[in-house]
């Protein structure tokens, strides 16, 4: 846990470095708990450096076609999120699952300068437009345990050099790992869970039934079940399956 905290500070400070409002707030920023409003602010700084008109931040769900809007430049309202049609995002969602390379698209009506600018970028390639009649960049981002997201920037005057591409993408990664750590409802729920309950959960995750757990831990089946019910309650889970999933995602069991 302490390592995670230290790592968190590091990530925050990477973004602070580029804070256009000066470095004086850097220390404060790093210690602040990240909220959606903070994340919007950090995303706006990235957009400013790209000279992008708007941005959108998406989570990639488990469905093949699901791009879940998290926030965008119209926060607390949604602008880009509303414009992306479900059928159009299937390609990019597949891309995000398999690759980390940035993707771009150019409005057909533009003068070609943007196209030339994007084509000069190594590693990035073009894709079908996510938003009709726009020019945009999409950065796939990933966090612990296979969580995926997409950060999208649009605007007709965007500037991006090869060297800055890595930097912008690194900041998107940092932002995503901060946002994916916001798990409302999970905070503080883990303190009371006992060692015995965790043992039962771990054995459940390894495929043992209550009867087998009772045998292994020399308990009665009733007690084993009670431990599992209690741990599910403490994790705010509605079923044994969800309790196992939550415990794994929170890192309580391996």
């Amino acid at each position: 846990m302490t390592y995670q905290a230290a790592r968190h500070d590091d990530e925050a400070s990477v973004n602070d470095q580029r804070n256009p409002f000066g470095s004086s707030s850097a220390g404060v920023e790093a210690r602040q708990a990240v909220s959606i409003a903070d994340a919007v602010r950090r995303c706006r700084w990235i957009a400013i450096d790209l000279n992008a008109a708007s941005f959108g931040f998406f989570m990639v769900g488990p469905s093949p076609d699901r791009l879940v809007p998290c926030f965008d430049s119209a926060y607390p309202d949604f602008s880009i999120g509303k414009l992306i049609a479900v059928r159009d995002c299937e390609e990019i969602v597949r891309h995000v699952r398999l690759s980390t390379q940035p993707r771009w698209w150019v409005d057909d009506c533009s003068d070609g300068a943007m196209r030339a600018r994007f084509e000069a970028l190594s590693w990035a390639a073009s894709t079908a437009p996510l938003v009709n009649a726009s020019t945009g960049l999409a950065f796939p981002v990933h966090a612990e345990r296979g969580r995926c997201g997409l950060v999208v920037f649009t605007g007709n005057e965007m500037t991006l050099e090869q060297d800055a591409l890595y930097d912008i993408h690194a900041r998107c990664f940092s932002l995503f790992s901060a946002v994916s750590r916001i798990r409302p409802g999970d905070i503080g729920l883990t303190r009371a869970i006992s060692r015995r309950e965790l043992e039962c959960l771990k054995l459940t995750a390894n495929g043992y039934t209550s009867e087998e757990i009772a045998g292994l831990l020399k308990l009665s089946v009733h007690t084993a079940n009670q431990y599992l019910t209690q741990s599910a309650q403490k994790l705010n889970a509605v079923s044994r399956m969800q309790a196992v999933a939550k415990a794994l995602r929170l890192g309580l069991i391996e």
Binding site: P62, S63, W123, R171, S174, L175, S177, V238, A245, L248
Partner: protein, 236 residues
């Protein structure tokens, strides 16, 4: 040559990777650019053995790998100093290693130092949902340019995305279909079979059969184990 000029150079040379040879020359170039001596690209298995390192590419000498052992390589790759993309990397200095005592013994640190890995950076790499690790090391401390590392990390992610066939380990691949993955995800979120059926707009028998297939594919004994396996391997 400055770090940024060097970066530009390899951007133009090898942005099209196709073969094993391309990967090797890319990694050697990248290693040279940041001022490091050695690289080791590692995948960590999610199977029964927790710390199972699979070396994908490396220019470490063979005996060094054998002496150090896969277990230690796995804990170096996944150590507390490992930097995910977007975070600032910090070096493991094997000559001192005071902060690393809990995963690296004094003897192991000295061994690494003697073998020419005085400072080691561990960088996490994302190739889509899959995660790899690269160890960059140098024989002199301070030899690796820290400022170039973050760019090199992203560049390495991009490059690996072009050669997924060289990275795959058949055991670690996602064996599930889209529907099976969705069903498992919703069950892991605490939904019952009937609720999943409503969410996906199919019958509950269909949902059960998807889940049964997923259980079989993981050779798990029940739903809970299938979900645990899927989460451990980063599928859901």
């Amino acid at each position: 040559m400055t770090a940024s000029a060097a970066l530009l150079r390899s951007d133009t040379v090898s942005t099209r990777l196709a073969s094993r040879g391309d990967l090797t020359s890319f990694l050697m170039e990248l290693t040279a650019e940041i001022g490091a001596d050695s690289y080791m690209l590692v995948a960590i298995g999610h199977g029964e053995v927790k710390n199972d390192a699979r070396i994908v590419a490396s220019n470490w000498i063979f005996d060094a790998i054998e002496l150090i052992g896969r277990r230690l390589i796995a804990s170096l790759a996944q150590g507390p100093l490992t930097a995910v993309p977007g975070s600032r990397p910090s070096a493991l200095v094997t000559g001192e290693a005071p902060c690393a005592r809990d995963f690296l013994s004094g003897e192991e640190a000295t061994l690494l130092d003697v073998l020419g890995h005085a400072e080691i950076y561990s960088l996490a790499l994302n190739v889509g949902r899959q995660r790899f690790f690269i160890l960059m090391s140098a024989s002199q401390t301070g030899q690796i340019e820290q400022s170039a590392l973050m760019k090199a990390q992203l560049k390495c992610c991009y490059a690996l995305c072009q050669v997924p066939q060289l990275l795959v380990d058949t055991a670690a691949q996602d064996p599930l279909s889209d529907r099976e993955r969705e069903c498992l995800f919703w069950v892991s979120e605490g939904k019952t079979t009937d609720e999943v059926a409503v969410i996906l707009g199919v019958s509950s028998n269909t949902v059960n059969s998807y889940i049964t297939h997923a259980i079989q594919k993981f050779s798990a004994s029940n739903r809970a184990m299938a979900i645990a396996t899927a989460i451990r391997s980063g599928i859901i």
